[in-house]
Structure formats: structure tokens, C-alpha cells
């Protein structure tokens, strides 16, 4: 039941240790990683903003909902903020469960739900501009660089 918004690198081993329990037969780890491209654009880096206290509150609500809904045993949800380079992890969702099926289902549901509800925002920064992304998969419409208009 560990949640965290942090500007430090996310530690997979810490997350796994946090969810380990003797009755767990499966651990699922999801890492959201900064890609070098998005919707056809070449990304230089990302900047994440967050409302940390509310983000952690919503993460905890979603984690508890996953326990009720899927019967998972424990969860750890970390989100990083600040400037992230290509290849760095922005989101780390780790689940322990008795069996593999619910670890994949709950992990997928949790990641989808986090992207819809947790108050965190990313700004894409390219060579010729930058833009706050609005919504989980949007191209964004504000402040598009000249080359995109």
C-alpha cells in the first residue's frame, strides 16, 4: 500500500520489496517509460507536473479499489515529476497477487485508471517547441509549435 510522487528516479526493487508477501505467487511490474516519439513527433524530453498530495490520495484510492475488484494482495504506485530524459521511467505500478491472471488484469486496470484520474501532467519538449499534453492520449491543442500547425 505504498504510493509516492517524487522527483527522484523510480526504484523497481524497492517497489517489488514493498509488495512482497509469503502468499504472493505473482508480481507484476509496469513501467511507463519516456519514448523518443509520440504521435509521429520526435520527443527530446518530458517535463511532468503534479498535484502531489491529491495524486497520492487518488493513487491510494485506486490501489484499494484494485484490492477489492481483483483480490490482489498489495500495490506500490510511484510517479516521477520534473524533467525526464528518453528511457527514464515516469510511472511504476507494482502489484502482488496469489496468481498470475489477476496480476495482469489488475495491473492493466490500474495503469489505465491512473492515466485517467491521477492529477499529473506531461509537457513534451521537442527541438522546435513544447506543449502540455491534455488527456491520456491527446495530441494536445495548445501551444503547438509552428511546424505542427
Amino acid at each position: 500500500m505504498l504510493v509516492r510522487v517524487t522527483d527522484l528516479p523510480l526504484d523497481v526493487n524497492e517497489a517489488i520489496s514493498a509488495v512482497e508477501t509469503p502468499s504472493a505467487g505473482a508480481v507484476n511490474v509496469f513501467l511507463g517509460v519516456v519514448r523518443d516519439n509520440n504521435l509521429g513527433r520526435r520527443v527530446g524530453h518530458l517535463v511532468y507536473d503534479a498535484y502531489p498530495s491529491m495524486a497520492e490520495r487518488v493513487m491510494r484510492e485506486l490501489g484499494e479499489e484494485a484490492i477489492e475488484k481483483f483480490g490482489i494482495l498489495d500495490y506500490a504506485i510511484f510517479h516521477r515529476t520534473g524533467k525526464l530524459a528518453i528511457g527514464e521511467a515516469s510511472l511504476l505500478v507494482t502489484i502482488s497477487s496469489g496468481h498470475r491472471g489477476e496480476s495482469f488484469e489488475a495491473g492493466h486496470w490500474l495503469v489505465n485508471s491512473i492515466k485517467k484520474r491521477v492529477p499529473v501532467w506531461k509537457k513534451e519538449v521537442w527541438e522546435d517547441g513544447e506543449e502540455w499534453i491534455e488527456g491520456p492520449e491527446s495530441l494536445g491543442i495548445q501551444q503547438a509549435p509552428a511546424s505542427m500547425r
Binding site: G32, P119, W132, S138
Partner: protein, 94 residues
């Protein structure tokens, strides 16, 4: 000490704190505003006063969510004096 604590409590009761993030913070040039609380304030009335004071935020309103004291709220939900109101553009974490 006791009277100092009472004084700061009085101040909090008179205002509503507005938090801005991401695109809104950039557009407003700040991450935090204080508004005088008014009787009967709702999410809608507070948001309208923010936009009156910072018209450059008007274009964000159609897609904005609002949280009162860290809980998502709808237009008619009350905003008590001392509350923290966050203006939340569509989230894009992960």
C-alpha cells in the same frame, strides 16, 4: 501563541486558495492564487471569479476538472471558506 494561532485560522476562513498546474500555471504566471471567500461559494462561482481576474484562463474552462480539498467536484458543489480549489486540466500522467 494561542492568539497567533487564532488569528491565522481567521485569515484562512476568509479566503479560498486556488491551485494552478501545467498549462494553467504557465498561462497565469503563477501556481497559486488567494481569493476572498464569499457566502454560498460553489465550484462554478469560484472558477468564474478566477477567470474574471485572469481572462487568459478562459480558454481552459471547457475541459477543466475541479477538485475541492483534493476531491473531484462538480459545478454545484459548495466551496467553504478556507478550502483549497485545484483547477485541473485533462490529466496526462503515466
Amino acid at each position: 501563541m494561542a492568539s497567533g494561532a487564532g488569528w491565522s485560522l481567521t485569515i484562512r476562513r476568509m479566503t479560498v486558495t486556488i491551485l494552478l498546474f501545467a498549462s494553467l500555471a504557465e498561462a497565469a504566471g503563477t501556481r497559486r492564487l488567494e481569493l476572498a471567500a464569499e457566502p454560498g461559494d460553489t465550484v462554478a462561482s469560484v472558477r468564474d471569479r478566477v477567470v474574471s481576474a485572469h481572462p487568459q484562463l478562459a480558454r481552459f474552462v471547457p475541459t477543466l476538472m475541479v477538485a475541492v480539498d483534493e476531491v473531484y467536484a462538480t459545478d454545484d458543489d459548495p466551496v467553504p471558506p478556507g478550502a483549497t480549489v485545484a483547477l485541473i486540466p485533462p490529466v496526462s500522467g503515466g
